[in-house]
């Protein structure tokens, strides 16, 4: 029984990873643009970016998903459930990732920029070779824990019909009346994936820490 349930529910692992991974990737990339915009000297640009980040973060993820999946078709933009989920979670991830990047950047002392300027490094070289690598190192644990958060949020995609882990768990529960077992299995699958993410990030983090030797 357990084996059968596991086989059924594990079918959802692929889409869970796909939705989470794609959203993290797109969100991470858009987040870079956002953080640059927030730090822009042009007030309109930094204002719009700040507003975007705040609005996106305070609206619940499920509301975004419904808005995109059920709301947008009214204006002729019909997305598949998977596309809608990825668009929605990318939107949310971009705002959170921008904040994570921002705190990473803030943690780099001004002295590092000054040293780079005094050496005559260009702004591009300073950001690319001095600031970003150090900010990445600082932001890594936060990125990993956000990735795990996003993984959990991706369960919401089941509400618009994306066949990921929770979707299959619900189906199994209905068909076999093994509700408890179905959702325990779903939970265990999330735990296993989270553990893998956590272990990888810990490894990378420790390696950087040993190398650089900063707190």
């Amino acid at each position: 029984m357990i084996a059968q349930l596991l086989l059924t529910i594990a079918q959802g692992v692929g889409l869970t990873l796909y939705v989470t991974g794609a959203s993290l990737l797109f969100g991470g990339a858009i987040g870079l643009v956002l953080v640059a915009a927030v730090r822009s000297r042009i007030p309109v640009i930094s204002g719009i970016a700040t507003l975007y980040i705040n609005v996106v973060r305070v609206v619940p993820p499920i509301t975004w998903l419904f808005l995109i999946y059920f709301g947008l078709p009214q204006y002729a933009l019909r997305l598949s459930a998977i596309q809608a989920a990825i668009v929605g979670f990318s939107l949310i991830a971009s705002a959170f990732m921008a904040e994570i990047y921002r705190s990473g950047l803030l943690s780099i002392p001004d002295a590092q920029r000054e040293a780079a300027h005094a050496l005559g490094l260009s702004p591009v070289a300073t950001v690319g070779h001095i600031i970003t690598p150090q900010a990445f190192r600082v932001a890594l644990p936060a990125v990993a824990s956000y990735a795990i958060g996003l993984l959990k949020d991706s369960a919401l995609a089941s509400t618009i019909g994306v066949r990921e882990i929770t979707y299959y768990a619900q189906q199994s529960a209905r068909q076999t009346h093994e509700g408890l077992l179905s959702f325990i299995i779903a939970g265990v699958l999330y735990i296993v994936i989270s553990l893998v993410v956590a272990v990888i990030s810990r490894r990378v983090d420790l390696r950087l820490r040993r190398k650089i030797g900063v707190a």
Binding site: A111, A118, L119, S122, I130
Partner: protein, 263 residues
């Protein structure tokens, strides 16, 4: 140009490796630096001493535009920048930073790069040197500052004195004409500070033009040609080291030296 009586030369006629005239800086109504003048020949070493808040570091940091002065002119090693009005163009700022090398109180090595990378990255990005050329220069300099075996270490693995010597090597790798030192030993315990001072002494002996903000009175007296005493954002006095130390002209200087030397 109209000449007045006497032999006083107008400031624009001064020549030297460093010619700073009328340098000042204000934040709104508060004035942190006013009318600082300094002319130096190639190979000269000037120490800047004075109480905290005198504007020593501000002055030094204006020289490579880490701080933006609001008035005066700076001419160093062929670079010329006029303060005040609109910000100087990028080319003259780049030039100014090319001819100056700076060493900071807190070393400011790049912690994510090895010692070798700390010294080679600026050469490659600023001078366009090849990896091999940059490494050759780095190895020579590491030998010169007495740390030939630390190339592959990360800065965090090194003592403060070693880090500061690496920071000196990093600045020298770009062949600056003038080296600026901002309290290079203040973050080090006295014994460790000596190894940094020894490197600076060698550098002075080899003819490097140096401006050193320092609290090390022995270094100021023994190594520098002249001492400039600052207080309250201005120059209290400047003269040959021995003279400033033994027969200071300014009352405030006497007071400061007494406090420092009687300790």
């Amino acid at each position: 140009m109209v000449f007045s009586f006497g032999t006083r030369t107008p400031p624009t006629a001064l020549t030297g490796e460093v010619v700073v005239s009328g340098l000042g800086k204000s934040y709104g109504a508060s004035r942190v630096l006013s009318d600082v003048n300094l002319t130096m020949n190639e190979g000269e070493v000037v120490s800047i001493i004075g109480p905290s808040g005198a504007g020593k570091s501000t002055f030094l940091r204006c020289l490579n535009y880490l701080e933006t002065p609001t008035e005066g002119t700076i001419e160093i090693g062929g670079a010329r920048v006029v303060a005040g009005g609109k910000r100087p163009d990028k080319a003259s700022l780049d030039h100014l930073r090319r001819v100056t090398g700076m060493v900071f109180q807190s070393f400011n090595l790049f912690p994510h790069l090895t010692v070798m990378e700390n010294i080679t990255l600026p050469q490659r990005k600023v001078l366009g040197a090849s990896k091999e050329e940059a490494q050759e220069v780095a190895n020579k300099l590491l030998k010169r500052v007495g740390l030939p075996d630390k190339a592959e270490q990360y800065p965090a693995r090194l003592s403060g004195g070693q880090q500061q010597r690496i920071a000196i090597a990093r600045a020298l790798a770009l062949s600056p004409k003038v080296m600026l030192f901002d309290e290079p030993t203040s973050a080090l315990d006295p014994e460790i500070g000596l190894e940094v001072l020894a490197v600076m002494r060698d550098l002075a002996d080899e003819g490097m033009t140096m401006i050193v903000v320092t609290h090390e009175m022995h270094f100021a007296r023994d190594v520098s040609d002249r001492i400039m005493v600052m207080g309250n954002g201005g120059v209290l006095e400047i003269g040959p080291s021995e003279q400033v130390m033994s027969q200071p002209q300014n009352e405030r200087t006497r007071q400061f030296l007494k406090a420092v030397l009687d300790r």
